[in-house]
């Protein structure tokens, strides 16, 4: 009897865990170094940060509220909640203080530590601890967007000073504590509020992920399935699929120094030739929205009144024939994309749509490293990519300002427009948020008119879960914060 009771309790243990299927494995759980989406999303569960964002991407207090004492001096006051660090072998009952904030940010600011997040906060000149709960940030130059840059998870100061690596462990103060990472592709976390165990399982293949969900080997998965598999899941019993619109922006980028693509008419013709409605209807998820600008219209600096380039093959042909191209004498353009099958699928459709108006597209798919390297070096005519998790409109300086050519920024198309430069600078000097938003709207209008990018769409998010899973919600940027409230109903 006792043995059988023990056995059953042993067997039941893993059944209580909520298992989450990941399409790509996290690389590093160290918030100072993690840059990939999976790591960043898990880090949000494991660590708290000073500042977070609301649904329209305005910075809101998370660990701390702030006030700008002068344009270059911000004072942050830590709040009561979320300051208890996870207990571990190295620390017991330690509470997060301003010393930890300073240690974490000082570490990232040191150039020899080579943190990929350094560039985003390099305007910090000095960090001074006032007391346990108050800390001052001094800046090199005024930047009203500054609080929105402080989104890196705070580590304990002792841990930072010990030089310990946190890529495969964690000591955060987040809603979840780290249990173990027993093998590649399996991470176990515990929710601190009720000790619920979560297992994050990496299942790379989309079909296998769906089958595992149907067989109950995972309880929950989010995004990264072909539309056909999503509709297949929707038809199966015992599961639910929920969609919502997202903010991750997919676009076609041009090399504006290219002899052909620097002609405005060519870029406009491409914009008119792409039938986004059809692609969204047949290939993308149902909640995918057409995009006209990098920031979605519900962003605080978004522009809902932009005039879209609607599908108009006649207009595209007309623009091209003015330049001497037509279906019989097509314009040849090389189009680079990553080797991700979904991206190739979209690119192949665009290739066909462009062929119909007289642009012969030579499609080249490369593995990610080669592709990304080529894009950064400017070795491309046309490419497509997505911006993921964009919150703060400083992205415009990073992507479109003429001084932001890589490695200084991400102006990969070598776009150079003095009006845009001037609008970016003007927006940064704006006094209040409304005024800045107004300039950013004007800026996005100018960008849509001059087309350094052809905006395509904001991809949707969806999750599929066993029907016993309840309370999960999707975030606009696709993070996993919904796991804080998810529970299993019996």
């Amino acid at each position: 009897m006792l043995v059988s009771a023990l056995l059953s309790s042993c067997a039941k243990q893993p059944d209580d865990a909520i298992r989450f299927g990941l399409s790509s494995a996290p690389i590093s759980l160290d918030p100072r170094f993690a840059t990939d989406a999976a790591s960043a999303r898990l880090n949000r569960l494991l660590y708290h940060r000073l500042v977070d964002f609301d649904d329209s991407s305005r910075p809101i207090p998370s660990l701390a509220s702030w006030e700008a004492l002068t344009p270059v001096h911000y004072r942050f006051s830590l709040k009561e909640n979320g300051r208890q660090f996870q207990n571990s072998r190295f620390q017991k009952n330690k509470s997060l203080s301003t010393a930890d904030v300073k240690a974490t940010y000082d570490y990232i600011l040191k150039s020899e530590n080579a943190s990929p997040h350094r560039a985003s906060i390099s305007l910090i000149r000095d960090i001074r601890v006032v007391d346990e709960d108050t800390i001052d940030f001094y800046l090199d130059r005024p930047d009203p967007l500054f609080p929105g840059y402080l989104v890196i998870g705070i580590l304990p100061a002792e841990a930072v000073q010990s030089g310990r690596k946190f890529d495969r462990m964690s000591m955060g103060s987040g809603e979840f504590s780290f249990l173990d990472w027993p093998e590649d592709g399996l991470i176990r976390l515990k929710r601190r509020s009720d000790n619920q165990i979560f297992e994050f399982i990496h299942v790379g293949d989309a079909t296998v992920r769906v089958l595992k969900l149907l067989r109950g080997e995972i309880d929950l998965l989010q995004n990264d399935l072909p539309r056909e598999l999503v509709s297949y899941l929707e038809k199966q019993d015992g599961h639910k699929v929920v969609h919502r619109g997202g903010s991750n922006f997919t676009y076609i980028g041009f090399n504006t120094q290219d002899p052909v693509l620097k002609i405005d008419g060519v870029r406009q013709a491409i914009a008119y030739a792409i039938n986004r409605d059809e692609i969204i209807k047949y290939v993308m998820g149902g909640k995918t929205r057409k995009a006209n600008a990098l920031l979605p219209p519900d962003h605080w600096a978004g522009n809902p009144s932009l005039q879209a380039y609607e599908y108009n093959p006649g207009r595209a042909r007309e623009l091209l024939s003015k330049l001497g191209y037509n279906v019989d004498q097509p314009l040849s353009i090389t189009y680079k994309t990553s080797s991700d099958p979904f991206r190739i699928r979209i690119a192949t459709i665009i290739q066909q749509q462009l062929a119909e108006v007289g642009i012969k597209v030579d499609l080249r798919s490369y593995d990610w490293a080669t592709f990304y390297g080529d894009i950064k070096e400017g070795r491309f005519q046309m490419y497509s990519l997505s911006w993921v998790g964009i919150k703060s409109p400083d992205i415009f300086r990073y992507v479109f300002h003429s001084t932001a050519v890589p490695p200084a920024g991400a102006n990969r198309g070598r776009y150079n427009n003095s009006k845009v430069d001037q609008l970016i600078e003007q927006a940064e000097k704006g006094v209040d948020q409304a005024e800045r938003a107004e300039v950013y709207r004007k800026l996005q209008e100018e960008l849509l008119m001059t087309l350094p990018y052809v905006p395509l769409w904001y991809e949707e998010h969806f999750y599929a879960a066993a029907s016993s899973i309840d309370g999960y919600t999707l975030a606009v940027d696709g993070n996993y914060d919904g796991l804080i409230y998810v529970h299993r109903t019996q």
Binding site: A206, E228, Y232, P341, R345, T348, L363, S365, Y366, D367
Partner: protein
């Protein structure tokens, strides 16, 4: 006479598909989003793929891709391999030593791995696949030709030709090639099968044909993602590939039996 049977029929069909494919009114690249993943039916014998392109048309186009690659790789490999192997063995000495070492180095790598590395370096594209597979492929022919030549070059008819003062080139062409051709032809038939598989493998990895061109390997890769909802996408090219490779191997076997004089005389008894 060699028995052709069903394998012969399948291979002639493959050949016919490959040769006539480019001239048929096919639309392997016509995207029709309405038909995405529609299964086989009356309008379209093999259904549509993940972009609404007809699978049958793409299968025919893929046949010519795989035939083109197999033909060129085997031809280049046979020519280079035979040439290098025969001359190296005939000349002997240091030249032979060096050639043997080079052959050993190539054979030390698993063939497909070397091909993956080479096409990775040269970049994706079907021409590069031909080059990569030829670089890997000639070695087998060279080794075979060399071994055959070594055993033949001391035969009486060769010694006689040498003593009569025949020029070297003539000896190789007139007295050696006819005798070493039989095993090389058989090796070449097996080569076709392995090249078809290798091309499919490289295309499966994304190193072969570039979209929107079709190859059986890339069709299998695309189809595998939809196996759950549209099995026809992976079954059609998969079965086609299996039939061709099986047929080539069967015919190669029969060709070997037929060309083997000893075996034939036994059968006749």
């Amino acid at each position: 006479m060699i028995r052709l049977g069903i394998p012969g029929l399948i291979l002639s069909l493959w050949f016919l598909m490959a040769v006539t494919g480019p001239f048929l009114p096919l639309h392997p690249e016509r995207i029709d989003l309405v038909n995405i993943l529609t299964g086989p039916g009356l309008n379209e014998a093999l259904g549509y793929d993940d972009l609404g392109r007809p699978v049958l048309d793409r299968l025919l186009l893929g046949a010519s891709t795989s035939f083109f690659v197999a033909f060129w790789v085997v031809t280049i490999s046979v020519v280079i391999g035979t040439f290098v192997g025969t001359f190296s063995a005939y000349i002997g000495g240091y030249v032979d030593q060096v050639v043997v070492r080079i052959i050993d180095i190539f054979l030390a790598f698993p063939g497909i791995l070397l091909a993956i590395a080479l096409s990775g370096i040269m970049g994706p594209g079907i021409e590069n696949v031909v080059v990569a597979l030829s670089i890997v492929g000639w070695v087998g022919f060279a080794r075979l030709a060399r071994a055959q030549t070594l055993s033949l070059k001391h035969r009486e008819h060769v010694v006689a030709a040498v003593s009569l003062g025949t020029v070297q080139r003539k000896i190789i062409v007139r007295h050696l090639f006819p005798l070493i051709s039989a095993p090389l032809i058989i090796e070449a038939t097996f080569g076709i099968a392995s090249v078809v598989i290798a091309e499919a493998g490289l295309s499966f990895l994304g190193l072969g044909v570039q979209p929107p061109d079709a190859s059986w390997g890339s069709m299998i890769r695309d189809g595998a993602r939809y196996m759950l909802v549209a099995p026809h996408m992976v079954l059609a090219p998969g079965i086609a590939l299996m039939l061709v490779v099986l047929s080539v191997n069967l015919l190669g076997d029969r060709l070997r039996d037929w060309m083997d004089v000893k075996g034939r005389s036994v059968v006749k008894k």
